[in-house]
């Protein structure tokens, strides 16, 4: 949170337009200037700017979500319930147990996500932050893909199918071919991205040609893709490990595995690099290329875009293909980077759905998505640590994540809860 003091730049009378968000927020219309007193004190205006700005709402949203998460921990903690059973005899016990439960949870979340001060060596101490980045990579990649369709006015719920197909294609190339790493790894990555792009493109083509609703088509393609990959995993000619009865592929060969970024003592692999590169790429596509301009035009108003000579159908198809490729890379990241002992039908690990919240939290902006991916990666890494050390189910992370997105999308609600002035006030 940036504290603005009176010594800062004088605040203009015109409210700074910080909200250019399209998805998730539609009401931050700047109010008329008429009610603004010209000679209000600078201090007052600065304060007003902070309390009505988006940054404060973001921080408060996270705090609110964590507050509700704390309540859930509090009311399900066994010690707290035990303390409540004799609350009126010794209320201090309840508060003590409650404090223990919540502080324990957040301390272990921090230790699992950022810095573990209990680690014996420096490597062990900083390992959590690298784990966070490892979890952030697929969330960011898939989030970028889904965010891109949001910008084109489309909704891609097909992340699961695209991840599965992308991961399976990469695994196929990795297992079936024997090549030097310099060719093998790029080839496997490309195969994953390409197959996922084609899979995603189906929804775009059907929407462009027949007007089929992309939400239905992508939901259905999730199931079709799942069973396709499952089928491939039960056939040795396709993906199943030779001589195995399990629906699982052979482990990835060394030449097709994404290399470690920080050496073998950390799990962080080049997938994160891929995610950062993809972020820049998507930023360039959306903000600097004519293709991105067409995406945004179609997203804002398809009829106007068509009238302006933009081929809306082509935009749909290309948006879905690029989106599918990005989401497919998330699957590639899992198969060739995070879980290299073989592809399974669960390789998507629900990231396809988590990525929707990542895209929403990042407001469909590439760098916002990267930041949201890292935040949710931290929650994931910390959540697993918390589950192991405190016995709090990792699912609470889902609750906190979804609450953050909900609160962020409704700034007036957050402001009402904290009794902050709204812009209209």
């Amino acid at each position: 949170m940036s504290e603005k003091g009176p010594e800062n730049e004088p605040v203009e009378n015109e409210p700074v337009e910080t909200s250019d968000d399209r998805i998730g927020e539609g009401l931050m219309d700047s109010s008329s200037d008429a009610d603004r007193v010209p000679e209000a004190s600078r201090w007052h205006l600065a304060l007003r700017e902070i309390t009505t700005g988006n940054a404060l709402v973001a921080v408060l949203s996270v705090l609110l979500a964590m507050f509700f998460g704390s309540l859930m921990i509090l009311f399900t903690d066994e010690d707290v319930r035990y303390g409540l059973s004799y609350f009126f005899a010794r209320p201090s016990d309840t508060f003590y147990y409650g404090w223990e439960a919540i502080s324990g949870a957040y301390v272990s979340l921090w230790r699992g996500a950022v810095f573990n001060d209990l680690g014996g060596t420096f490597t062990q101490q900083i390992k959590p932050i690298t784990e966070t980045l490892k979890f952030a990579a697929p969330l960011t990649l898939a989030g970028l893909g889904i965010g891109l369709t949001f910008r084109a006015g489309l909704f891609n719920i097909g992340g699961r199918g695209q991840m599965l197909l992308g991961g399976a294609a990469a695994a196929f190339v990795a297992v079936k071919l024997d090549l030097p790493m310099i060719v093998h790894l790029p080839l496997a990555i490309l195969a994953g991205a390409l197959v996922a792009a084609l899979w995603g493109g189906i929804a775009g083509i059907l929407k462009a040609l027949t007007g089929a609703h992309e939400v239905i088509v992508t939901i259905m393609l999730n199931y079709v893709g799942y069973y396709l990959v499952f089928y491939a995993l039960t056939r040795e000619s396709l993906l199943q490990a030779p001589g195995s009865a399990n629906p699982k592929s052979a482990p990835m060969p060394e030449s097709a595995i994404l290399p470690d970024l920080l050496g073998p003592q950390f799990n962080l692999h080049a997938g994160f690099l891929l995610a950062v590169l993809a972020t820049f790429l998507v930023w360039w596509i959306l903000n600097r290329s004519s293709l991105g301009y067409r995406f945004r035009a179609v997203g804002e108003n398809p009829a106007a875009a068509r009238a302006a000579g933009i081929n809306v159908g082509v935009a749909y198809v290309s948006a879905f293909m690029i989106s599918g490729a990005l989401v497919g890379l998330a699957g590639v990241n899992q198969v060739l980077g995070s879980v290299t002992d073989g592809a399974t039908s669960g390789l998507d690990a629900a990231i396809g759905f988590d990525a929707i919240t990542v895209a929403l939290l990042g407001r469909s902006r590439p760098f916002g998505i990267l930041a949201a991916g890292v935040l949710f990666g931290a929650f994931k890494s910390g959540g697993f640590f918390m589950q192991a050390s405190e016995g709090i189910p990792v699912d609470i992370v889902l609750v906190v994540q979804s609450l953050i997105v909900l609160f962020l999308a409704a700034p007036p609600l957050v402001k009402a809860i904290f009794r902050l002035p709204t812009k209209e006030a």
Binding site: V217, M220, L221, L228, Y231, L398, L403, V405, A409
Partner: protein, 427 residues
Amino acid sequence: MSAVDLPVQADAQGVAERIPGLWKPPIVMGVFTILVALLVLVSPRDGDSTFRWSREGDWFAIPDVSLPANLIVWVAVLLCLLCTAYAAWRSYSRLKTPLVVVAAFALFAVSGFLAWAVAGKTLPVVGLLAGALALAVPLVFGALGGVLGERAGVVNIAIDGQLLFGAFGAAITASLTGSPWAGLVAAMVAGMLVALLLGLFAITYWVEQVIVGVVLNVLVIGFTSFMFSQVLSENAGTLNNPPHFPRLEIPLLSGVPVLGPIFFRQTILVYVMYAAVFLVAWALYRSKWGLRVRAVGEHPKAADTVGIDVIATRYRTVLLAGAIVGIGGATYTLVSVPSFGREMTGGAGYIALAAVIFGKWDPIKATLAALLFGFASNVESVLSVIGSPVPSQFMLMLPYVVTIFAVAGLVGHSRAPAADGVPYRKG
């Protein structure tokens, strides 16, 4: 039935205007006819296919029908060809294909496929259909809730969350009280709670409704999974051991051959479903309330002008829809499965959502679409029991592939209520 004949549309030059999607039904039907024909051409089956129609307790037994599999398939292909030809002729005459032709086509194609799949064995038709109806119950309730919400202008992606929370609430309450009825009420309340959140964010705070729905689903999955691991699994005996609704046979009607075992030997929730479908369809189209709901969903400003409270109407409709979806959720823990489990709906809410759009936002058509999904998933489980020549993954995939074809080919440009997903801002 949408067998509305479009008059030939002609412009000034007398050249008929192009009606989009006119040729889609015959094309899709042709593709499926070829597919069914390929079944027998590529892999002809020996032996007879037997269809069993009767069950114990019928007034009289209809004898089993047993015919050579290949013969049935060829007859089915022939009938499919006739339907396709009729559809093509209609399209050639610039007329829409009546829904009944599409339905007949689907019946023939499915019969042909089933005869091919069960060659040499016996297919319990009644069991297949009764099971399909039971499987479709949560989907139908979900679709009804979805239709109601969207007709009032609120997109409800949170159907899955409402189903899951309904199942959760029903399991705990029924276990604690020992009464499935209390569980049913709790499921409705649980569905309404999710609906209240949906309303709060979508109606009051104008948040993009698709987003609210998706996020609410994640929220409910996270919350119920958390509670399941943290509380339910430790106290499974007291908190997650719900009593179930017994099967309830309707006197007289349950004895009717074929129809009785399918429709009238089910649990109370299925009978509630019949009533719900009828009530929602009637109320939406025939009552003052329904007129208001539709007005609010199509043109809220006009509705506001004539004195309808848009916000309140939307809230009431969304809450009612939540209660309906909640009943569907109760089906899981009070009928189908012994106890609550993590993510036990398996994305059924998304299928219900597909049924809403597939059914063009109409309660009856959406119900039929939901029944279709139930049928497709039960075909798979029945065929895997009697043994099918198709790999099970492809059978499991089939309903979803058919949906894609149907949405692309037969439904096409479906028109949502005009103000669907658009928040109303007064002034």
